[in-house]
């Protein structure tokens, strides 16, 4: 059991800075997921916590101990790698026992712990197999087993599910989460899959280009994304973005020339005539009849994707060359080329500063 704290952690490879000062605090027993696009520095961050990569600046603390210069083996952590990194020449049993043997645990204790872990992970009948005689999901479990037998105070996961097929991934993500809850071990989990991130995390760190753009619970991040990047990254399909401008009276936002959307609240964060990016989630749009009382957008439909429970409409707003996607429940009768009207509750509106990309305003609760 431990607490993990990152203070302004920086990583440079030669001249190139890839992590630009990350602050993060993982509470004892918490499951924190780091999510971001490929190359944003997630693995690098995790590897610094593990001690596999030197820290170029800032401090990493495990409990009250500063571990920047502590060897990986002395940090009391375990890591599950993307490719599992099982020792191919050892049986499942030997793989799990390796770390305990090196740490000179008594034989009986090793056996006890390996058997317990095998029971927990349903690996009992595979203990004498080599990794290459196991399926992907079983290997994944062995990698987990190797991590838990040592009873470390922190688990680190680097995209542990990305080599599995979609169905197994869903199953394993539930298993990992249940296991972690049962053991109560502080965990840092890296993934580029936002669904994985949303479903597993107690708290989420959204990373972009070496910066932690936002840290918060999955729901907070979904409802109040702090920047265009976060808004676009979390949620599927992505949030729609349209260029707009705040009206002179600051009571509404104008899209293109003709559409004006009233803002539910007036705040000081926005100024008259300020250029903004308007964000609307596809699932917040619904079909409506054209009426002067309701804020609605016309959409020329290009493509209808029927998913079964939902339907995605892809199309363009006339005179705006922005692609808009709407996610409608059920199977509405819409044909390609048709013009439909989409309504949304102004409360679901997001406004972002056009230059900095920072969030200015949530319709739900003005910033």
């Amino acid at each position: 059991m431990a607490e993990l704290r990152l203070d302004n952690v920086i990583k440079e490879f030669g001249e190139v800075r890839v992590i630009h000062g990350v602050d993060l605090k993982v509470q004892d027993g918490e499951f924190v997921v780091v999510v971001g696009p490929s190359g944003c520095g997630k693995s690098t961050l995790l590897r610094m916590v593990a001690g596999l990569e030197e820290v170029s600046g800032g401090e990493i603390h495990i409990d009250e101990r500063m571990v920047n210069r502590v060897e990986p083996k002395d940090r009391d952590i375990a890591i599950v790698f993307q490719n599992y990194a099982l020792y191919p020449h050892m049986s499942v049993r030997q793989n799990m026992a390796y770390g305990l043997k090196i740490r000179k645990f008594p034989k009986q204790e090793i056996e006890q712990r390996v058997n317990d872990a095998a029971d927990l992970l349903q690996l009992g009948e595979y203990l004498d197999r080599r990794p290459n005689q196991l399926s992907g999901g079983q290997r994944q479990r062995v990698a987990m087993g190797r991590a838990i037998v040592r009873e470390p105070s922190i688990f680190l996961f680097d995209e542990p599910l990305s080599n599995l097929d979609a169905k197994l991934r869903v199953q394993m993500r539930v298993e990992i989460r249940q296991l972690q809850r049962r053991l109560g071990t502080t965990s840092l989990y890296v993934t580029h899959d936002q669904v994985e991130a949303m479903t597993m995390a107690d708290r989420l760190v959204v990373m972009n280009a070496g910066v932690a753009e936002q840290i918060g619970t999955p729901l907070e991040i979904y409802e109040r994304p702090a920047s265009i990047f976060v808004a676009g990254f979390i949620g599927s399909p992505s949030m729609n973005f349209v260029e707009g401008r705040i009206a002179a009276d600051r009571q509404s936002v104008v899209i293109g020339q003709d559409f004006s959307i009233p803002l539910p609240q007036v705040t000081d964060a926005i100024q008259a005539d300020q250029p903004v990016t308007v964000g609307l989630r596809p699932e917040d749009l619904h079909l409506t009849q054209e009426s002067p009382d309701e804020a609605s957008l016309p959409l020329t439909v290009d493509l209808v994707e029927v998913l079964g429970a939902d339907t995605l409409l892809h199309g363009q707003v006339p005179h705006l060359d922005t692609l808009i996607i709407a996610r409608l429940s059920g199977v509405p009768q819409v044909k390609n080329g048709e013009v439909v009207h989409l309504a949304f509750r102004p409360r679901r509106l997001h406004l972002f500063d056009r230059d900095s990309g920072k969030s200015l305003y949530y319709g739900q609760n003005a910033a």
């Binding site: 596999l52 990986p72 990194a85 020792y87 090196i102």
Partner: protein, 293 residues
């Protein structure tokens, strides 16, 4: 089982392997058959007459103290060369695997000895160890060791071992380096997190995973020490002093071309051939069954 694709019958495949078969026939099968045939004959020194004697040449060999001596020193020689060339090759490869900056220079330098002809390699070492002029023998003299491989059999043996090892390190280095680089880095990282220090990691993870490479190289090195060191021995010691370095392959040449005992020499080459064939078969067997990681 691999799926086989069937093509229409055509002469093209045969045509394509024809050069290879021709080369094998002319340069291997034919001389080998000749050696086999000659090993069953006793010929007089002038080549005027011969007699078919079945296995008498072989029986004579194994009764000959000189031949048995040669066999013994060959085993010592090849064991020493194989072990030191592999140990050093592995050692250098492990270090090169860690080097990031300047690694290509380092690798290139390490590979050069392989491009040196055996006789030249031999000459090079013979110069350095020359009892009167050599720098290394000069150095040994200052630390109190009187080196003379022309008079001392042990010194001579050491010298050909050093020269033969030096030449083979590059080869082993290349294969070991390739083997090391094929081991995923995450394995050593996992072991480091599991608590293993560098030495423990090497012996419990890396070395076992290199075993296919190690085995392959062992066979190659033994074959090298047995057969390809002729040039080195010839240039450095010429088998001397008093047969101290007359390893099997050198003795074949001595007895056949200098001693003109063609039958005996042929019998010796047949035995050498049998050794190399069995080593090769052994290796193929193993590689087929090799554990696939």
């Amino acid at each position: 089982m691999l799926k086989r694709v069937h093509f229409r019958r055509s002469y093209l495949p045969y045509l394509l392997v024809l050069p290879q078969i021709a080369v094998t026939l002319v340069f291997f099968i034919w001389p080998a058959a000749q050696a086999l045939y000659q090993s069953l004959l006793i010929e007089d020194a002038f080549g005027l007459s011969y007699e078919f004697v079945w296995f008498e040449n072989f029986i004579a060999l194994f009764r000959d103290g000189n031949y048995l001596h040669s066999f013994r020193i060959t085993i010592v020689f090849s064991a020493a060369v194989t072990f030191s060339a592999m140990a050093l090759g592995l050692c250098f490869a492990t270090m090169a695997d860690r080097v990031i900056r300047g690694s290509s220079v380092y690798k290139t330098l390490l590979v050069w000895p392989y491009a040196v002809a055996p006789a030249l390699a031999g000459a090079l070492w013979a110069f350095m160890f020359d009892p009167t002029l050599g720098i290394i023998s000069g150095f040994l003299k200052t630390v109190g060791y009187d080196w003379d491989h022309r008079l001392d059999g042990t010194d001579a043996m050491m010298l050909i071992i050093v020269a033969a090892t030096w030449k083979q390190i590059s080869y082993n280095f290349l294969f070991f380096l390739a083997g090391l680089q094929a081991i995923p880095k995450s394995l050593t990282e996992a072991a480091a997190i599991d608590g293993a220090g560098p030495f423990k990691r090497f012996w419990t993870i890396i070395f076992p995973l290199l075993s296919p490479t190690t085995f392959f190289l062992m066979v190659v090195n033994v074959v090298y020490a047995f057969f390809e060191t002729f040039g080195i021995v010839h240039a450095v010691t010429a088998g001397g002093p008093s047969r101290a370095t007359s390893i099997l392959v050198y003795k074949v040449y001595r007895d056949g071309f200098v001693g003109l005992d063609l039958g005996g020499s042929a019998a010796q080459s047949v035995i050498l051939m049998a050794i190399v064939i069995s080593l090769t078969v052994f290796q193929f067997r193993y590689i087929e069954k090799k554990v696939q990681y």
